[in-house]
Amino acid sequence: MPWDREQMAARAAQELQDGTYVNLGIGIPTLVSNYIPEGVEVTLQSENGMLGMGPFPYDGEEDPDLINAGKQTITELPHTSYFDSAMSFGMIRGGKIAMAILGAMEVAENGDLANWMIPKKLVKGMGGAMDLVAGVQRVVVVMDHTNKAGESKLLKECTLPLTGKGVVDRIITNLGVLDVVEGGLRIVECAVGVSEEELRAATAGTIVE
């Protein structure tokens, strides 16, 4: 049985290193903050200008001046700091953020990532994703293994416009975990109840040992 969204987020949370600064993308990555392992302290960066992102506010306590990069109302924590967008991407570009956990449309076996546009169909923009994948030390992608048509999202080559070239380190899908290594993708683990054969069959990119 493949992992559901929550299980994928929980698995992604295992990637977090104690004492680091992490940026979580929109969607499943946002859920990761609910599963931070005990004893692991991470500081969440919100690229609109905040370190130390707290949980959603209680009903009625929303502050229009306090949102995350997904435009959701949030709260601050004791160690929170605010800064402007130039400083925010300074620390991202400068490699001070240890990890970004992001969603994706496609990942190629060489680590190419596409998650910002579908020509003539979906033209929303890259937001901060291109800066994040270029700047942070480690990029983990969390996404479904296949699209709605059942086609693999782990490809030999991306078909969509790239967000970054050779930037992905690890991919966590509903079927398992894969690393981008020399020559292709290496299976790290399969979701509970998913066989390696199923995972291989669902993967269009080259799998190496």
Binding site: S46, E47, N48, G49, M50, P55, F56, P57, Y58, D59, G60, E61, E62, D63, P64, D65, L66, I67, N68, A69, G70, K71, Q72, T73, I74, E76, Y82, F83, D84, S85, A86, S88, F89, G90, I92, R93, D112, K120, V123, K124, G125, M126, G127, G128, A129, M130, D131, A134, G135, P161, L162, T163, G164, K165, G166
Partner: protein, 234 residues
């Protein structure tokens, strides 16, 4: 050196012209110069180019200038919340230049700091890098991005003193300081104007040298996505 004006219209008087390039602060609907945008709509200035991270929503923020077709071109990183924008863009009525968010912020800050170009890894190997100069530093490839020198900056701050020193509130700071820095003239709307000496000189986010005109006004401060959690039982 009193920079306070009576209204948005007065503060923009003499600064607007068709075809001009405006840099606007704000992220989503957070910390946007809503009063100045309304005033530009009222002024009817046309063929505007905006550098702004987002394009507002259909009826708020820069969105109100899209409805009146006053905008010719947007330089933005994310425009997903605006249906009218998408319609005008896909029909070819509106030009769009996507900039990665950090590149956009740095282009603004650079212009305000007299830096006409800088190198970044962001976008290397993507559409964004096409046609841009590539250069290697320490064995890695970077692309040249240029400063965004605007005719006018419009920004929203929390407080200003009468000499233009600005303080922002929480994540409403976002693009406002870099946007303020890159314009030939910078007009600021604030929630509160105080006298010199009321702001701690160590706690000013943007010094008054970057600010030319200030207005105070009532802000709607619309929330784009209200997300909350339930209060746990005691």
């Amino acid at each position: 050196m009193n920079k306070v004006y009576g209204s948005a219209a007065e503060a923009l008087d003499g600064l607007l012209f068709d075809g001009m390039f405006i840099a606007a602060g704000g992220f989503g609907l957070c910390g946007i110069p809503e009063l100045l945008l309304q005033s530009i709509k009222d002024a009817g200035t046309k063929d505007l180019t905006f550098a702004s991270n987002n394009a507002g929503v259909d009826d708020f923020g820069i969105g109100i200038l899209l409805q009146t077709k006053q905008v010719k071109k947007m330089i933005s990183s994310y425009v997903g919340e605006n249906a009218e924008f998408m319609r005008q863009y896909l029909s070819g009525e509106l030009e769009l230049e996507f900039n990665p968010q950090g590149t956009l912020a740095e282009r603004m800050r650079s212009a305000g700091c007299g830096i006409p170009g800088f190198y970044t890894k962001t976008g290397v190997g993507t559409q964004i890098a096409e046609g841009k100069e590539h250069k290697d530093f320490n064995g890695e490839t970077y692309i040249l991005e240029t400063g965004l020198f605007a005719d006018l900056s419009i920004v929203k701050a929390w407080k200003a003193d009468t000499t233009g020193n600005l303080v922002f509130n929480k994540t409403a700071r976002n693009f406002n300081p870099p946007a303020a820095m890159c314009g030939k003239v910078c007009v600021v709307e604030v929630e509160e104007i105080v006298q010199p000496g009321e702001l701690d000189p160590d706690k000013i986010h943007l010094p008054g040298v970057y600010v030319h005109r200030i207005i105070q006004g009532e802000h709607e401060k619309r929330i784009e996505k209200v997300t909350t959690r339930k209060r746990e039982q005691a």
